[in-house]
Amino acid sequence: MTTLTPRRVSGPARLRRGALYAALIVVALTIILPLVWIVITSFKTDTDVISNPYSILPNPFSVDAYGTLASGQQPIFRWLLNSLVAATLQTVIVLVTASMGAYALARLEFKGKKFIFGLIIGTLLVPPVIFLIPNYLIVQNLGWLDTLWAVSVPGAAGAFGIFFLRQFFVGLPTEIEEAARIDGAGDIRIFLQIVLPLAKPALSTLAILTFLGNWNDFLWPIYVLLSPENLTLQPGLSQLQGAYSTHFSIVMAGAVIASVPVLVLFSLAQKQIVESVASSGVKG
């Protein structure tokens, strides 16, 4: 084992690179092929799915499944819009409230600061299941059951956003701020015109993580959204699966409709999305 073999760069190195790419391609195909299969199935007819479940080409090529969905028994485009609205609303609320609060925690001295920061840290790792029952009752009392408020606002109250931004704000240099203060700038101006522009990377990371989290949320919307037209995409698809359990092409068309907008968004902003997630671990 310890004998040294003379190094030949070309042969083994090329083999190694080949194995590396082979491994990467295998993993990539494992991800891509099921998605391709879903698209193929969505263009089949019901009878084709049953009689030729494994045929690679739809015969006949059919958009019936999409037609059924568009006819609106299961308002999937409405769910898409609802998800978009809920995720955007939650993201805006988080960005505004967390950045303001984080500024106070990072830059101002005040009574009760330690207590509030302690409370925020204390709730960071509390699992969401703790809030399930009481928040349901609170949302019910607010009259928010079956509205998009229920899936936007309570989830915006978490401690992660303010904690994440506070850590970032603390690390920002204070020289510009001090100069501005000497020039007579107040906290609102310093916050809006100095701190927020400097914090753009952290803000966009938080926006992406919040949006994705809301988009993926499943348990909570199942219970607080009730009417078919008020559902978001995740509980909606689950309902679609229940309604058309034996019509695979329709359910797969639903999966395609649900996937295309996010995949388009993702491909446009993939670098930033991936890097936002990546940085969550290094900073955390």
């Binding site: 990467l24 993993v27 991800i31 891509i32 099921p34 299969w37 049953i50 494994y54 967390a98 303001m100 609060g101 106070a104 925690l105 101002l108 005040f110 409370l119 925020i120 709730t123 790792l125 699992p127 299941v129 809030f131 399930l132 009481p134 928040n135 349901y136 009752l137 609170i138 309570p154 915006a156 109250a157 007579g184 107040g186 609102i188 101006r189 916050f191 015109q193 988009w215 499943f218 348990l219 199942i222 219970y223 995409l233 995740q234 509980p235 698809l237 689950s238 699966q241 359910v251 639903g254 649900a258 996010v262 995949l263 993702f266 993939q270 999305i273 997630v277 990546a278 671990g281 290094v282």
Partner: protein, 320 residues
Amino acid sequence: MTSLAPLPPTAVATPIPAPRRASAGGSGTRRRTWTAYAFLAPFLVLFATFVVGPAVFGVWISVTDWSPYKTEQSFIGLQNYIDLVTPGSVFFGDFWQSLGATGIFTVASVPFLLVIPLGVALLLNQKIAGGTVFRAIFFAPFVLGVAVIGVIWKYMLDTQSGMINHLLGLIGLPSDIPWTVDVPWAWVSLVGVTVWWTLGFNAVILLAGLKGINTDLYEAAALDGAGAIRKFWNVTLPGLRPVMLFVSTTTILASANMFGQSYLLTKGGPANQTRTAIMYISDQGLSQNNMAAAAAMSYVLFAFLAIISVINFRLQRDKP
């Protein structure tokens, strides 16, 4: 764009001549406190209403006989908790079965959810063409959301018409595996689908960790004659420790909170064997209207998760 907007009068921090007071909380300090709370107010309103309030409210619910059918609740002390540990009580069997299911899934999934993404991250960390493209492909399933993943794999894993059984048949393996309707296959499916869904998520975090390791350490190891495997054990893994602590903690918690995969793929079956604790608690609390018992269960689950988190933290931090 750079012009300064007119300042609201309250924002000006210039000292206002005020009567001096000897006390520590002079007007200056108080004004800063006011400003700070003005900045914090929107967050604190939400935080109090939907985080701190419910955490306390939940404890109260768990010590009452809360029910949506009653107008008044009475305090019953720890009875709900005592019931949970009393064999033969209404919830005992099902609750502990669901905790067991959560435990099985966590133990079965976490190693794969750490090792496979680590492998993928190591591949991506090589000098390769198209690295960003591969990274984006691996990450893509995560953005689709659990319901899309659920309906896709429910079809792929269908016993009769699923592609997976068909492919197994093509290479001469059994083609009638009950992937979502019988154990242990259901567990294999739940773990496999979770890996497929989230491997890119953990991989990109681990990749960032790998890129953060000082390359001098690798060069020093190479000078000492270390091969690829020794470099991995002696440089890569120790260098990854802080990131690994983060990833393992979030992965353990995510697995222990698993809900959607079981809900969509197995509906908790067969015979509730894959019904996780979260699934049982939400069903009891919000569908069966046993809110008080469900609140108590959620605190028991919380206690378990806290213990596991502390153990994980200790183990990883204290490694030599």
